[in-house]
Structures are given as C-alpha cells and as structure tokens.
Amino acid sequence: MAQTTLAGGFTDPPQDAAQAFRGIMQAMARPGQIETVGGVQPPASLSVAAATLLLTLCDPDTGLHLAGGCDTPAVRGWITFHTGAPLVAATDATFVLGAWDDINLSVLPIGTPEYPDRSATVIVEVPDLAHTGATLRGPGIKDSATLHLPAITAFQHNAALFPLGLDFFFTSGAALAALPRSTKVT
C-alpha cells in the first residue's frame, strides 16, 4: 500500500475538524453563501472541500456512496483509513459524493414522514462556484441569493418534497456552498 493513499488527513483533528464544521454549518445555515474550508490534502480525484466535508461529517455510522469517477481504490482507501465510514450502495447512503451527472437522485433515501432526517446528503463536485444563475429564497436567506447550479428543476422537485428530501453541498477546490431542502430555487 503506497503512502500517498493514506497521507493528508487533519494534522490536529479536534481543532481542524471543529473549524471545518463551523464553515460547513455556516454554509448550510446561509444557502448560497460560499465558504472556504481546508486542512487536508486528499487523493487526486477529490477536491479539498469535499475531502474536508467527509473527514468532518463521516464516521463508522454513516454509509457513504461514491459515484462515478470518485470511486477509485485510492479514494476508498483514504476515506476508510481516515473516517472508517462504510462504503454502501446509493439506496442506503447517508452521504453521496460524485459529479452531478454521475449521481442518480431518484434512488437516494429522502427520509420518512416520521424520520425526515434519515435522508441522504449529496456532495456534488462542480467545476466552479459562482454567485450567478439560479435565484434562491427561503430560510437563512435575506431577500434572495444567487448560486450557479448544475440544474434547476431537480432542486425544485426536491424542495417540493419538504419536509422530506435531499440536502446538497457543492464543492470546488477549497470552496463549498450548500442547498438544503428548505430552499426554493427559481
């Protein structure tokens, strides 16, 4: 096993994970706002922000599904070493990571009326994040915000499922933004 597959985790896990969690929480609380997180050097096919998200939020109780190009032996080994998260099929996933075109949203768990929290959080790797394009309205947004999204109708369908549905993170390099199910996209 080569060293490069395992190196690059948090250097000071409690401190680094707390700072990353603050950034992630801030992004989820203010949909459309772009936050910068870091502290890890992931394998080549992962962005820094996506890897930081996984190391901060995943543990042996959260099933992770790797979609498409993210599903490489290097990424699997790195995530297993650093988080212990089991790698599962899309239908059982708590977290899903992949490019937009590789993720099949229709099979992901959206929660149940009794437990809407038993739904998947989708981490979408995008080429870049920008405040252009779709308009976002809803909790956490004063008036409106804009964020470049890979699609629009899929997010409108997702918001219509509320209180069920999926929550999204978009990651590019060290930047991340979030789109919870409560946000209306136009």
Partner: protein, 151 residues
Amino acid sequence: MDGSSDPNAPRKAWLSLLARSAPADVARLWAAAGLAPAHDVLRAPEIGAVMVRGRAGAVGAPFNLGEMTVTRTTVALTGGIVGHGYVQGRDKAHATHAALIDALMQTDAATQVEAAILAPLRSAADARRDTRAKRAAATKVDFFTVARGED
C-alpha cells in the same frame, strides 16, 4: 475456519503480541535493538475505547463484554510501507513502537526485528501465561466418588 489459510495470519499474530505486551518491555527491547527508521506519522497516537465482544463457550451468540482503552497510531516508513499500532492502555510511545515494528516486519529488516524484539516478547508472554496457569492449577479441586462397598 482455523485461520491457517488467512494470508494475514502472521501479521495478526505479531500485532496481537505487541498489543498485549507490557509497554516497558517493548520500549526496552526497541531501545536495545537500536533501530531508528525515518518515518512519517500518518495518524498521531490517539486514545479511545473499543467494545470487546465475546461468545459464551466461543459458540454462543455474541455479547458485549465491556469496553477497554486502546491507543492507536499509524506511521509510514520513507519507502511508503505503512505500519499500524493498536495497543491496550494509554501509552502513546507503546503505540508508536508497535506501529514502527509492524512496518519494519514488512521490510527486509523482518528477521532482525523478529529476533531482537518479537522473540523475547513472545517468551515473556508464554512465561506470563504459564505462571497464571500454574496458580490456577494449584487451586483446582478434583471431585470423585468413593464406592461405599455396601452392595
């Protein structure tokens, strides 16, 4: 399943030995062996608890026996060989020694490490088990029935 076909059996055996050995013994033998390989720390030593599970008579349904304190660490030698150390107790140096020994056992230095560190640890473990077995054997009571000879 007797484990004889397990390709990782030798590694499991030395990791198990290192985990159960006394930290002072490991430190003394490690210093005496004079090995100081260049390495990177992939996971700094961290202390946690693991749930020990057992089966009644080794065949019953698994049950949780209790938690025990474990220290773990992971190192990588300069050549890229990764060594894991999982040891009982809270001694971080013990975990680091175990990880380095695990890594060296996967290299050409294996015979040297085996002779200088693992063999003495193994005999110490055997001696501990023998002493304990003898103490237990001394308290053994044999029950037998004497025929009364009335018939």
